[in-house]
Amino acid sequence: MKVREILTEKEGEKLFLLGNEAAVRGALEGGVSIASTYPGTPSSEIGDVFYKIAREAGVYFEFSSNEKVALEVSVAAAAAGLRSFVFMKHVGLNVAADSFMSAAYTGVRGGMIVLSADDPSMHSSQNEQDNRIMARLAGIPLLEPSNPQEVKDLMKFGFDLSEQFKIPVLMRTTTRISHMRGVVNLGAIIKGKEKGYFKKNPEQYVVMPTYSVKMRKKLMEKLDKIEEIANNSPLNKTIDRGGKTLGIVTSGGAFNCAMDVVSENNLKVKILKLTFSYPFPEKLLLDFINSVDNILVAEEVEPVMEKEVLAIIGKYNIKKKVYGKLDGTLPRIYEYNPDIISFGIAKIVDKELVKREKFSTKLSLPLRSAVLCPGCPHRATYFALKKAIKKLKLKEEEIIYSTDIGCYALGLEPPYKMGDYCISMGSSLGIGCGFSRATNQKVISFIGDSTFLHAGIPPLINAVHNKEKILLVVMDNRITGMTGGQTNPGIPVDGMGNPAPEVSIEKIVRGVGAGLVKSINPVDLKETEEVFKEALRFEGVAVVIAKHPCAMITDAENRKKGISVKYSINQEECTKCLICVKNFTCPAFFIKKDGSVSINPLLCDGCGVCTQICPKKAIEVKK
């Protein structure tokens, strides 16, 4: 399949789609007009697809500067009567939370879907938060798809529901749904309205306390009505496998695992699959609870539905056992798979479940940890900074390296070890302010270009205004790298691939009033080292912007131009000092069995930075 087919394939056809791709098709079938995001895995491919097809689809799409802005763009579009779609990773919803909570109060006119891609097991995230709780906190209806077909179908359903009740709808996926491929039956694409019109109504759209008091009451009334829909929705279905001793309440990816275990073991149970799961359909649950002897709740990650089930049991004074996370039948942490569910069910059913032999090895297997790519400019920045610190005889243990969310966080690995603290997008600077105030240690903060524009400006203002002593290094690689290479406002291209004004990080930094501001090209190691020496000596807020494109960009450009430069080692000159391997740590280098150092031409990116670090000048262009 080619990406464009997500747009061009006709109704009635089938595609083998990723959950994230299905979300785009669903948005198009639902008549979306505006889509917005800030990239974050596991939601990133939704934006990647929009980037490629939005123009042709006649949909507006943007990579907003952060998730809060993305949500505001979409909620305003929906207030103007357009159908809008905003999507982000789970922690992105924290950034957007302030507006998300109030959007439930103000409501919308056009349908609006907020998609949160949660990441149980933290495949590429800092935490495992369960955003089904966010739906409850805000009072926003919640949909939980289990596969790409459902993701697609729920987009259209969600738009209709949102419009009917004039409230945004939250769709919660998990990594295993966003990154699951499955067969998707396509429906017809509906062209969304091009422009909306905002009808003024401050009582609806301005959250002044006097108005909010009324909005809150109205929200509760809406939720009661929506609960009635959820009670009767075909999205919440009972699957009867011919027995009543056990009823399994489940949703999302946990449903898939439970179904496979039930089928394989031919278990006589009843399953209630909740897809429209908030407002929690109490009547439906009550009927289900009454129809079985005991209940197992299988869900990822928190015991959200389990507590709802327990509340119903308590409310109606029912004497039945509820198995789940709270009693230890299933684990409280990490994503589920069929084996975990099977292990849990085995504890409570009176039947031997299928067990298989499996193999293991005693050999120790090589570690394949994530590393900065060959040709990555961040490596040059770290190398030069390390050297400057050494030359100035600063003590490493006296320096606090406050890093941020992005590829450069990999600088925490040896030999650089430049990552002591990292908690959230933009935190490097706020945390830096705190350490500058609370200690006499030297503070160095790292932040990427996209992360700086996302959440780095307010803490920079704070650092300047409160006279902190911080060296801020902006690792500007001209892309949002870690999520696969999306554009950001610092790049002269927008989310539809059109030319756009490039927001200058240097001008922002100067405008805020940083005491020392220097822009450098980190692949010039000598100059970079000199600039770092000056910045390290500066008393105040010093900002060094290390600007060089990500290796993904330079590689693509070189391929296009047909340029292929590779480096190799002149073995006669090489003294095997291993600075290239142990200190610079470019993964294209390797040590052969005979102890000689070599460069893997398949990995070498041709950046040539290594030629500057070799004391014997033994690295040369491969002929």
């Binding site: 295993r176 069929p338 032999e357 297997l365 398949l602």
Partner: protein, 204 residues
Amino acid sequence: MNNIYKIHFIGVGGQGTVKASTIVGEAAMKKGLNVVMSEVHGMAQRGGTVVTELKIGEAHSPLIEEGAADLLIAFEPAEALRALNKINQKSFVIVNSAPIVPFTVSLGISEYPELSSVFDELKAKIKNLLIIDAQKIAKEAGSIISENMVLLGAAAAIPNFPIDKDLVIQSMKENLPLNSTEINLRAFELGFEEVKKGGKSIEI
């Protein structure tokens, strides 16, 4: 659930593991079968182990139960060992003999086992084992990056593989860049032939 065919793919970032499994999945769909697949994205891809799991048939979760894979395709020998928990004695296993030694070994913070001991362990445990030098065959086909298609060709040639060769080829054409189709098809055919003639590309 006996009618569900489970394929576990394991490799290293950049080897085209996800592409190869997507091609199989799409071919299964073309045959009118249900198919679910799980793939890795994001941080896991930067030089790390890449796993994709595929179930063809009436399955809901794409995650393969321990010891349940019908077929394991390992794009790298040490990675085959990493996936041992997914296979059983009846599983079919295709292993690329070309190792990828990660940088952590040069740094001295991890070890790559002797290749012969990797193969010995595989041979001792697995009955239906095919070790093929996919790298060498890919070079023969015209490009080392067609390694994944060599392995896919090999898979299409094993007994009980649930999808016809023609459908896999059709799916390849629809999923690979036009300018590399010829090399990839050649790689696929060479991989297919390698298995049909008994997998003699490597002496172990």
